[in-house]
């Protein structure tokens, strides 16, 4: 009796390990090109992905879309709005967005979202907080830009005045 119980327990453990290995097919964050170019291989698998949150958070009920760019491509992440709210900086001009780590199911052609390639995140963490980037004004460019604009505008006024 004891022996049978051990065998059942070992089988359950082996099954559990296989499932765990399947789900963590990629134990470290995977890059977007690998995911997109091998979309069939990773379809339905649990993946880890990391990159800069860009653009806007688009709220959809209790969830939200956040697009995360890993330096190669941006991928849409469907995550809980509670998690999305933790993102403070979204990448745009003069703003470096928060670096976000997500773990979730990769979908090559998501059935829930009209066939889009996306990741449904179970877990989302801010790895590194983003920041604002100060714009350093290029003085030479400023002088030349304003100067040529004013000269050009004056010349156009001459054309207009003379009805050329």
């Amino acid at each position: 009796m004891m022996r049978k119980s051990w065998i059942v327990l070992v089988i359950i453990l082996i099954g559990f390990l296989i499932k765990l290995l399947q789900e963590t097919a990629s134990a470290k964050p995977i890059d977007s090109n690998t995911l997109i170019n091998n979309a069939f291989k990773y379809d339905g698998k649990v993946v880890e992905f990391q990159g800069e949150a860009i653009g806007e958070i688009m709220k959809r009920g209790d969830f939200a879309w956040v697009n995360i760019h890993d330096g190669q491509n941006a991928i849409g992440i469907f995550m809980r709005y509670e998690d999305a709210k933790k993102i403070k900086y979204l990448g745009r001009y003069r703003v470096k967005g928060d670096i976000v780590y997500v773990k979730g199911i990769f979908n090559r052609a998501c059935k829930e979202h009209g066939g889009d390639l996306d990741i449904h995140a179970h877990k989302a963490e801010i790895v590194k907080r983003g920041y604002k980037v100060d714009e350093k004004v290029d003085r030479a460019k400023a002088v030349f830009g304003i100067g040529i604009f004013l000269i050009g505008s004056f010349l156009m006024w001459i054309v207009f005045r003379n009805k050329w």
Partner: protein, 503 residues
């Protein structure tokens, strides 16, 4: 009485410069909208970049207008008209590329010029880097370029600055406008602007409301809506984010953008007829029938070819139909990554979408490609020939097609359509060969060649900053001949050659 003092069919350089100067000044005026956008968002460096572009437009315009100021009442010869269009496109592209290049978002000036020509030709192939961090002013300028190009750079001048100018039909036709809505070219140009501005308001409003509903803040919903409208209506396919239309993850946004693409590919004259209450024209028109048949049949075949790739019929319909509409209308909006075409789509689907890209939209629209009217004419000619074969020799078969009016099919219609189709096929083949010579797989080379020539903008992954410079130049030329349709370009070179020979 003709006041022209110029020799007939002679290119009078001063007159060409005068008209080119007028058009370049109009482009400079439009660029001020981008300057204002940058100033609103306090993007100082980008504002200065755009001021440099505007200033250069104005200074060069002044020089040209000053040189040719005595010629403003002269009538254009065909050669002068064509030369003016060619010179405007060349200089307009070169100067327009300066602010994007100075922004630091392009690897080289050639890349910036490629992007600008892609915009002016309403193609939509992009080489911009780090688009997601691009300034608002740069995005505004990219999209305004598509609007200027879609409407026609010269058409813009005709609409607002052309009072007193004569022989404008030549420059109008030089920008591949095959037909006039009114006998007067300026009236036609103004109607085209009226239709475009009407849809600009409607389309931007619809996209802004949808943008707010899908979670965008109001200002970004407006700007993204405006830019997506300009990208769709002008069938240019530029989008403000690197994910293109997929950025929004929204069915409603996709549906509205698809409607805008379809509206943008319809003939301006037909829009005017329908807006004037002549709804029947929308059903009877040969171009609409042709577009309906080709879009539907290619999409259905595409869905069949990709049934293994997309697991459910709804997904297959949404993905395939959207991209076939985008390809056929010459827009280039995408909700797939470019690599997915190459790695996931079957060869059959690629061939079908290449056909859709080459087929293109309507004449007198912002779309490129062979055009629906020419396809309709060739289909009618085929039916006519079959009828002739099966009827007695004595029977007289008259084939008609309806395009704004009843038109009897004549040999010259068929010959013109056949020549254009032939030129498209030859240029497409050369572009494909060029891609394969640079080492790209045939499937990718075909896709990219059709996209550049048909002014579509979908990419299978070839178009990126790392692609060879030679291929960038070839694609720029293909976009240009595709937009101006071969005859204008051939005529331009023929006239320039003749002038050079005759001194």
């Amino acid at each position: 009485m003709d006041k022209s003092v110029f020799k007939s069919d002679h290119i009078e350089l001063r007159h060409v410069l005068y008209m080119t100067g007028k058009t370049l000044s109009a482009i400079g005026l439009v660029e001020i909208i981008a300057v204002i956008t940058s100033l609103l968002y306090k993007e100082w460096n980008m504002a200065f970049n755009l001021m440099i572009g505007t200033g250069l437009f104005f200074v060069l315009s002044f020089i040209f207008i000053f040189i040719g100021r005595d010629t403003k009442d002269q009538r254009f010869s065909w050669g002068a008209g064509m030369s003016m269009v060619g010179l405007t496109w060349a200089l307009g592209g070169l100067i327009s590329a300066i602010p994007p290049y100075l922004s630091g978002h392009f690897a080289s000036y050639l890349d910036a010029f490629f992007e600008v020509m892609s915009g002016y030709t309403t193609t939509g192939l992009v080489l911009i880097q780090d688009l997601d961090h691009a300034p608002m002013g740069l995005n505004m300028w990219r999209h305004l370029i598509t609007y200027i190009g879609g409407q026609g750079m010269v058409l813009m001048t005709l609409s607002f600055l052309a009072s007193g100018m004569r022989g404008l039909l030549k420059v109008y036709m030089g920008e591949a406008r095959d037909e006039q809505i009114f006998p007067n070219v300026i009236h036609t140009a103004r109607i085209i602007w009226f239709v475009s501005l009407l849809y600009l308001v409607l389309g931007t409003t619809a996209l802004t409301i949808t943008g707010v509903l899908i979670g965008l803040p109001l200002d970004m919903a407006f700007f993204r809506g405006l830019w997506m409208f300009l990208g769709g209506w002008d069938t240019a396919g530029f989008a403000p984010q690197s994910q293109n239309a997929m950025y929004f993850h929204s069915t409603s946004y996709e549906i509205i953008s698809m409607m805008i693409m379809l509206l943008g590919t319809i003939n301006f004259a037909l829009h005017y007829f329908i807006l004037s209450g002549n709804y029947k024209e929308g059903i009877r028109n040969a171009e609409i029938k042709s577009l309906f048949v080709t879009i539907t049949s290619l999409s259905v075949l595409g869905i069949i070819a990709l049934k293994v790739v997309y697991s459910t019929p709804i997904i297959a319909f949404r993905k395939v139909f959207y991209h076939f509409v985008s390809a056929h209308t010459g827009t280039g909006f995408a909700t797939l990554y470019s690599q997915q075409f190459f790695y996931e789509w079957s060869d059959a689907a690629i061939i079908l979408i290449v056909i859709a890209m080459l087929a293109g939209g309507s004449v007198c629209s912002t779309a490129g490609g062979i055009k629906a009217l020419r396809i309709a004419i060739l289909a009618n000619a085929l039916v006519n020939d079959i009828k002739k074969m099966i009827r007695p020799d004595s029977a007289v078969v008259v084939e008609k097609f309806h395009h704004l009016k009843e038109v009897a099919l004549q040999d010259r219609h068929v010959r013109n359509a056949s020549i254009i189709v032939l030129l498209y096929i030859v240029t497409f083949t050369i572009g494909t060969l060029a891609g394969t010579f640079y080492g790209y797989p045939l499937k990718q080379a075909m896709f990219e060649s059709a996209s550049a020539l048909g002014n579509v903008g979908l990419s299978s992954g070839i178009t990126q900053p790392s692609m060879p410079d030679g291929l960038k130049v070839i694609y720029i030329f293909m976009m240009w001949v595709g937009r101006l349709e071969f005859m204008s370009v051939i005529a331009l070179f023929a006239f320039l050659f003749k002038e050079a020979r005759e001194g």
